[in-house]
Amino acid sequence: METKKILVVDDDRDLVLSIETFLRARGYEVATAANSKEAYERIVEFKPHLIVLDVMMNYEEEGMVLASALKTDGPTHSIPILILSGFTAQKEAREKVLASLQGQDWPADSFMQKPVRLAELADRIQVLLARAEAARTPWPIGEPDAKDND
């Protein structure tokens, strides 16, 4: 089976380091970014299968803006995003994302409230990846032989 690539975007370097270490131990390839700008660069060069994204980085909405940009921008719209919400109410974060995406469906299980248990995070990643696989959304579009490289 191919090695799945996960991009972790969060400005807390300790949390990023933990997630990275934990996921590597489970056979994932992991890249990290501390802000949106770095995230865009990694997406282009690293081509992740899934993004773990903190909604509240340098400014409150940064993660939200990044998420909606990725979802509306052609080649990245099919990448599953797992949103880590620092808000007390997870519902609030979800509504904000939905509002910014204007009507797009955003699966309820793409949200996890901080602080997260890494084991649960890994489980959730597995679920989302399996679902994306089932929907046959290969990355990247335009490189149908990506799978064969592994």
Partner: protein
């Protein structure tokens, strides 16, 4: 009313015939009346004046200023007198301000005189000769009338006093309403405006005169109050409350039905209270709490993850490979403890009264101690630190701990945000009524747009240069509150990339 009138009436008999006078006197005195006699008009007037004078003397000074009481309650007047006639004498008595009950006694009983006497205000008419019982009956009737007159007068005075009090109360109520900060509009049962105070007319941009007795619908249509009309015109409840935005301010609205004693609705009172500031504070508090929760949860989450990596043995069985992660966990916990301490300090600095007694504190030793405490990071980053304090710098009045905290925070920041090999300069001097402390660094500086935000709780500039630096974001908020509590001010100026200068002014 008073005891004087509940006792027997005092009577003056004016008659030139001695026999009549003494007979009358005897009859009346037997019945317990007090009687005086006068044979002529002049004598009668003299007696009236005399009595008035003696009563005045009997009165205390402040009472003397009050109107002269009626000296004789009843005057019996003969029509024919040697020096005048009864009607003229009566006129004169009235002219001098006496108001006794009067009865005309005359042998010449004829209708014209009776008419004239009554017309002039003579209360009764008694024809000579008369029987003792007839006289007594007249006197009793006059006594009763006198009582009735006095009672009526008392009631009238009381009523007038009540009206006056009522008018005064009304004026006071109006004054009260008009000076209220809340906007008030009162509508009667017919839905017409009957009162609008200044705050309300200011909001509506009109005058009270222009609103009075106009249908409330006309007045409020097209204003942000229009949606309240239903409740003003036909309320469903006796009290409704709401919130509205008007001219960028938030108002709490309340409509209350007021009822008469019988319970029927008399009208409705609309009040608008400006709650903009309260709302702002509430939002500020909410924001503070959200941020605080975030700031507390983040390190906890990080520590949790760092530990979970360890218990998961993500890096294999070699314990050493987890040491960097566990050290980070320790650091995050230390940071969390610092944050909690700062939160406590912030909360304490919010109290209007400093917990410790303010004392006159000398600045130089406090500065030396603060710099000494920072010796390690200063040396580690090759900073040069200096303090130039004017000789005879006045002491400042505040709790000593507060000054230590102010200096520790400001000098601590100057060190923390400095560049390698930079400098920290503290200058202290007297400026007018202030002791001024300038703390200047050669650090990263602050973006101009953030200058007024650096004193806000949890505000931290997110910049690549400062990303790795630990800090609760509460230090400057604490400094600002402590300085202000001591009656001082704190300011900042900065050039990005060159450094910042924090200025503290404390009352000398």
């Amino acid at each position: 009313m008073t005891d004087a009138y509940s006792s027997r009436a005092r009577i003056l008999v004016v008659d030139d015939e001695y026999g009549v006078r003494s007979a009358v006197r005897q009859i009346l005195e037997l019945e317990g009346y007090e009687v005086a006699e006068a044979a002529t008009g002049a004598e009668a007037l003299a007696l009236l004046e005399e009595q008035a004078l003696s009563e005045e003397q009997a009165l205390s000074e402040e009472q003397a200023a009050q109107p002269t009481p009626t000296q004789f309650d009843i005057v019996l007047l003969d029509y024919r007198l040697p020096d005048t006639d009864g009607l003229s004498l009566h006129k004169e008595i009235l002219a001098r301000g006496h108001q006794p009950m009067t009865c005309m006694i005359t042998a010449y009983a004829d209708i014209d005189l009776a008419c004239a006497a009554t017309f002039q205000g003579i209360d009764f008419f008694l024809a000579k000769p008369f029987l003792p019982d007839e006289l007594l009956e007249v006197i009793e009737t006059l006594s009763e009338r006198l009582q009735a007159r006095l009672e009526a007068e008392r009631l009238r005075q009381e009523h007038e006093a009540n009206l006056l009090a009522l008018a005064e109360e009304k004026t006071q109520t109006r004054l009260l309403i008009s000076s209220l900060r809340d906007a008030v509009l009162v509508v009667n049962r017919e839905g017409e405006v009957v009162l609008a105070n200044e705050a309300m007319t200011d909001l509506l941009g009109t005058t009270e005169e222009a609103l009075l007795l106009r249908p409330v619908g006309d007045v409020l249509r097209g204003t942000p109050l229009a949606w309240l009309l239903a409740d003003l015109e036909a309320p469903r409840k006796d009290r409704t409350v709401g919130q509205l935005l008007w001219a960028e301010r938030t108002f709490a609205s309340s409509i209350v039905t007021f009822r008469g004693e019988d319970g029927t609705a008399r009208g409705r009172i609309l009040t608008l209270s400006d709650i903009t500031e309260i709302r702002r504070l509430a939002m500020e508090k909410e924001r503070f709490i959200r941020t605080m929760v975030h700031e507390l949860k983040s390190p906890l989450g990080a520590v949790r993850s760092l530990i979970e990596v360890t218990t998961d043995k993500s890096l294999g069985d070699d314990l050493d490979s987890y040491l960097p992660l566990l050290r980070r966990a320790e650091e995050r916990i230390d940071g969390l403890v610092r944050l909690i301490n700062d939160l406590l300090l912030l909360s304490r600095s919010e109290q209007a009264q400093a917990p410790g007694e303010p004392q006159l504190v000398e600045i130089p030793p406090a500065v030396s101690a603060a710099l000494a405490a920072l010796a390690e990071p200063i040396a580690a980053r090759n900073l040069s630190a200096s303090a130039e304090l004017e000789p005879d710098l006045p002491s400042v009045l505040l709790p000593p701990d507060d000054l230590d905290l102010i200096l520790a925070n400001l000098l601590g920041n100057a060190v923390k945000y400095n560049r390698e090999g930079g400098s920290v300069k503290l200058r202290g001097y007297r400026q007018h009524q202030w002791v001024r402390l300038d703390i200047e660094d050669t650090g990263v500086g602050i973006a101009p747009e953030n200058l007024d935000r650096v004193f806000t709780e949890f505000f931290r500039e997110k910049r690549p240069e400062t990303q790795e630096l630990e800090g609760s974001g509460l230090g400057l908020a604490i400094v600002k509150r402590l300085v202000e509590r001591a009656g001082g001010r704190v300011q900042v100026s900065s050039r990005q990339g060159e450094g910042s200068t924090f200025t503290v002014l404390l009352p000398a």
